[in-house]
Subunit: 264 residues, 2 copies
């Protein structure tokens, strides 16, 4: 089975033009089949502000009202996605920019009220159709996926980029040996948060329980790692959490970087 890397890159890279240029050059050079999933970044917030639309936050989460949905559709699906595609093309990576609506690759349903909170136009992934992605990859075309899905009734929905990446990873397991890579500010999951070099190189479900019980892995990381182990249980070969700068070492040079989550 051929390898496929699904690489998720977040706002810390998207928001920094130099870091983004350098990342896209590295990404273009990766020799395996690959899919890029990008997050949003601050551009959406800046453009919202420019248009006088206040970001509504509840419990630290952005509420996607109708105006915000327009903004994220423009910024994530248009500005960020197309600029990434154009830059990858200039690095001789034949990229294609997609949202979940395109070729119906990712269908979601509008999140129901949770504890009385209406998150607005936010989509929880319901169904992934991997076939168009498999076809594109077989033609040497690299999908670049924005964190947007659709509800099948004509409405786009804002969707968490980590979730888009892990749902794609699980759906593509049947066709590829899928490695999911979360690019991260830190070098990996740290044993001691004060020591930025104390990267835990491998975690399996058993050691994960131990690291949680001793408090080494704390609140913020738990949902991300729970999701990652769910992906592994569903057939994803590995999940790697590392810095964007380490991708070439990881994939082209086969080096050990970051934290690798694997099955027992």
């Amino acid at each position: 089975m051929q390898k496929l890397y699904i690489i998720k890159v977040g706002g810390n890279i998207i928001d920094n033009p130099e870091a983004l240029t350098s990342f896209l050059k590295d990404f273009a050079s990766l020799k395996e089949n690959k899919i890029l999933v990008h997050g949003g970044g601050k551009v959406a917030t800046e453009i919202s502000k420019g248009l006088g639309i206040e970001a509504q936050m509840v419990d630290g989460r952005r509420i996607t009202d109708a105006e915000t949905l327009k903004i994220v559709t423009m910024v994530y699906g248009g500005l960020i996605n197309k600029n990434i595609v154009a830059k990858l093309q200039s690095n001789e990576c034949n990229a294609i920019g997609l949202t979940g609506a395109d070729a119906n690759i990712m269908l979601s349903s509008k999140r129901p009220l949770k504890n009385g909170i209406d998150y607005g136009f936010v989509g929880d992934v319901k169904k992934v159709h991997p076939q168009p992605l498999i076809h594109l990859l077989s033609q040497g075309i690299t999908p670049v996926v924005a964190p947007l899905t659709h509800d099948g009734n004509g409405t786009m929905l804002n969707t968490n980029a980590d979730t888009v990446a892990s749902e794609l990873a699980v759906a593509l397991c049947g066709a590829f040996a899928v490695n999911l890579v979360y690019c991260f500010e830190l070098k990996g999951v740290l044993r001691d948060f004060e020591d930025k070099d104390s990267v835990i190189s491998t975690i399996n479900p058993d050691t994960y329980e131990e690291l949680k019980s001793t408090g080494v892995i704390n609140k913020g990381m738990i949902p991300k790692l729970d999701n990652s182990f769910n992906a592994i249980n569903a057939g994803v070969s590995s999940v790697i959490i590392c810095q964007a700068e380490s991708l070439v070492e990881l994939i082209n040079e086969n080096k050990t970087v970051g934290t690798k989550l694997v099955a027992n």
Copy 2:
């Protein structure tokens, strides 16, 4: 050879939510292979105004400066394109939204100074790669193309939607019997502008010369028709200029609508 319809729809439909919904329902129902090319509309101007960016016009043409390029990339490539795709999906048309950068389908070069006027980030089409579109069509996927191309060096470029449509038509002639349809406010090319029903049903290069010499076809229509005959000379089967409301009659019911341009 299979038929392919390339249908260009402009701002008059894009700007009117009811007309757009009705158009997309009709478009989804068309039984032949099809590609939709959409224009921009007023949304870009409204959002520019909201952000305090003044549209720069020279001789009635919009100048695409760096800020305007951001806006059109967002609005054409994101907001308009993805909402069209989501609506087509809800009408059971498996659409995929693309710009010229996606899968490198349309490469252009930044327009050089013309008569001392710098049009800014405007692209003149240099090369079309039809293969990814042929692959998508063969899988039953319908491309929806925004009026944006890229320069191969990482920059998106604003590109006239009529030109995008005719360049695609010419490039796809080798694989399909291509019919190019320009949706238009009027019922077709009129013999008498005061009589909105005086549609000229067919024009060939000979009758075109006659209609120009007698002044029936005047200034505004000449570039559009010149382009159309260029496409026909390059192998496009026909160019039809008609109202968006006539598409179902034209394609599914094989009726004569609008003005059909054909070879001699």
